[in-house]
């Protein structure tokens, strides 16, 4: 049997990575991590912790001052940004920073241009992505005329159409309403099913708790925790160091315990909490509408 070596190598790995900005700010120090194919990972930490700097090393926008970043086992320092951007697609926080064409259709086509595709293939991919993202009706409109949520969608579409193996999102749920967050969550699920590797930089604790299995916590340019999301985010001392707030569900659970309501500590979602409280209230003699 032939083992595909590429699958047992990490998709992304960083060893002893350090990065100093030209104003001598040390933005990354001794960062070590490895992310395997098909993983979904959140990177969290306060503003200025080094999260955005770290993901910029993944597609070579930033080359480490010390240490190495490897994508599919290959050092980023020996590859151009153009080469790396075929493997790693980064969707930045402010979508306006990555949109500049006159129409939405041109924006997608521009993104496909340097992939050596035929005109026909470019048109087909453009049509498909506009359809999948519900942006067809805006095809001829300027990106500037879209609402905040739709602009974010377009920015994601311009990266998705290139079909990179590794997708990196910087604050994807920021300023998004409930429907947009559901759209994004479904998108992530579909990409995971295709075997993509996904990294999400986020402050959204509830989102990470619900959807992301592994979380890397950063503070002052270094990694201070890396493990299962629920155990990483439920640790108070880590929340203190990273300016995060304990998830609402954890805060509520602890408050219940303090007044003597024995809520199981592994309750981590709204539905589990609703089920628990229903049982608790019924045990207090309160009847549901069916019983009443």
């Amino acid at each position: 049997m032939v083992i595909e070596i590429i699958d047992i190598l990490p998709k992304v790995s960083a060893t002893n990575v350090e990065y100093t900005y030209s104003n001598s700010t040390l933005a990354l120090k001794d960062v070590n991590l490895s992310i395997m194919k098909g993983e979904l990972v959140a990177i969290m930490g306060k503003n200025g912790a080094g999260k955005t700097t770290l993901i910029r090393t993944f597609n070579g926008l930033i080359k480490p001052s010390k240490g190495n970043v490897l994508i599919d086992g290959k050092n980023t320092s020996s590859q151009t940004i153009a080469e790396l951007s075929k493997k790693v697609g980064i969707i930045f926080q402010n979508p306006m920073h990555q949109l500049f064409s006159n129409t939405i259709e041109e924006e997608i086509k521009f993104s496909l241009k340097n992939l050596d595709l035929s005109e026909e293939e470019i048109q087909t991919r453009t049509d498909n992505i506009l359809k999948n993202f519900n942006l067809e009706k805006y095809r001829k409109r300027s990106p500037l005329s879209l609402s905040g949520g739709e602009t974010k969608k377009l920015a994601i579409a311009t990266i998705f159409c290139r079909n990179p193996d590794i997708l990196v999102f910087d604050e994807p749920t920021l300023g998004q309403d409930a429907r947009e967050i559901v759209f994004f969550t479904n998108l992530i699920k579909e990409e995971m099913d295709k075997g993509k590797t996904i990294v999400i930089v986020t402050h959204n604790i509830e989102f990470a708790m619900q959807h992301v299995p592994r979380t890397i916590l950063m503070a002052d340019g270094g990694i201070i925790a890396d493990g299962p999301t629920r155990s990483v985010l439920n640790k108070e001392f880590l929340a203190d160091k990273t300016s995060l707030i304990l998830p609402q569900i954890t805060q509520f659970n602890r408050a219940l315990q303090e007044i003597g309501i024995q809520c199981p500590p592994n309750i981590n979602s709204r539905n589990e909490m609703i089920m628990f409280l229903k049982k608790h209230l019924k045990s207090m003699g309160i009847k549901t509408k069916e019983e009443a």
């Binding site: 306060k46 503003n47 200025g48 609402s147 905040g148 949520g149 739709e150 920021l174 300023g175 998004q176 309403d177 409930a178 429907r179 947009e180 967050i181 402050h203 604790i205 509830e206 300016s243 995060l244 707030i245 609402q248 569900i249 805060q251 509520f252 408050a255 219940l256 303090e258 007044i259 003597g260 309501i261 709204r270 909490m273 609703i274 409280l277 229903k278 209230l281 019924k282 207090m284 309160i286 009847k287 549901t288 509408k289 009443a292």
Partner: protein
């Protein structure tokens, strides 16, 4: 007299066929902390732009009806005059910070209004104290963190002593702890200075416990405006496409099962108080 009064106001941006605001009627009093809630594209930002005359004076378009701020018609009063009544803080503070030091930044608006030196010093001290930025006065705004910049932006508006402070997603770019700090600070400013604050905010868990009233928007229309308890216990709030707070979702589900006879709590402490009482 109402501090803010919309009378059958409709507006569409030039080039758009759909109305961004549709037949808005709204009356807002003094000394209130108000949440503007609705999905993106529901008209929140357009509504806020009406309050200092940016709509219809700056954004080209078509309007019907009227908007009055402290009795001034927003079509007949200049934006600069309206800005002494209404202060606006945007999502990204970088867009509104221009001076070389924080101190100059805060003085800039007052200098333009020709306020005397003594009065300037007095107001500066007051708003610097409220926003806790005394240690930043000599720094350049671009050196500051997002949370510090947002506090400077708020201070530079507060010194103009507006009767109305508008904030359009002020914590969107901040980490959760800084977001909580800014929102708590806003509540304190509101109750200390008795001004009216209108805020649009996606972090519902953090903002809901602080507000007095909620305005709900959908498709350019106001679909509800009332005190908080009435809104969150009504059906329209549930159907709104927003990030409902955890406590709200849990207790609304219990209420639907008739397991909650009380009103829906707006925060963890309120929820705990209720559960402790029936124990």
């Amino acid at each position: 007299m109402d501090l803010i009064k919309f009378n059958n106001f409709s507006y569409r941006y030039k080039g758009n066929e759909e109305y961004a605001l549709n037949d808005i009627n709204l009356a807002i009093k003094e000394n209130k902390f108000i949440l503007l809630a609705g999905e993106t594209g529901s008209g929140k930002t357009s509504l806020l732009r009406c309050l200092n005359g940016l709509i219809p004076q700056f954004y080209a378009g078509y309007y019907k009806g009227s908007v009055k701020i402290a009795g001034h018609d927003t079509v007949e009063t200049s934006i600069s005059n309206l800005s002494t009544i209404v202060g606006i803080v945007f999502q990204n503070p970088e867009n509104q910070l221009i001076a070389m030091t924080v101190e100059n930044e805060i003085a800039f608006g007052m200098e333009n209004l020709g306020i005397s030196r003594n009065e300037m010093i007095k107001r500066m001290d007051e708003s610097v104290r409220l926003t806790e930025i005394g240690h930043l006065l000599r720094k350049a705004p671009f050196e500051l963190s997002g949370g510090e910049q947002q506090r400077v932006a708020i201070a530079s508006i507060l010194v103009l002593q507006p009767q109305i402070l508008i904030l359009d997603e002020p914590t969107a770019l901040l980490d959760p702890r800084m977001a909580r700090k800014i929102l708590t600070l806003l509540k304190k400013i509101q109750s200390d200075s008795k001004i009216t604050i209108i805020i649009s905010e996606h972090r519902m868990d953090l903002v809901l416990p602080l507000v007095d009233e909620i305005i709900m928007m959908k498709e350019g229309r106001i679909v509800g405006h009332d005190i908080k308890d009435n809104i969150i216990n009504g059906d329209d709030f549930k159907n709104l496409n927003i990030n409902h707070p955890l406590i709200y979702s849990i207790f609304n589900a219990l209420k639907e099962e008739k397991l909650l006879s009380n009103k829906i709590p707006d925060s963890i402490p309120e929820a705990i108080e209720y559960l402790n009482k029936i124990k």
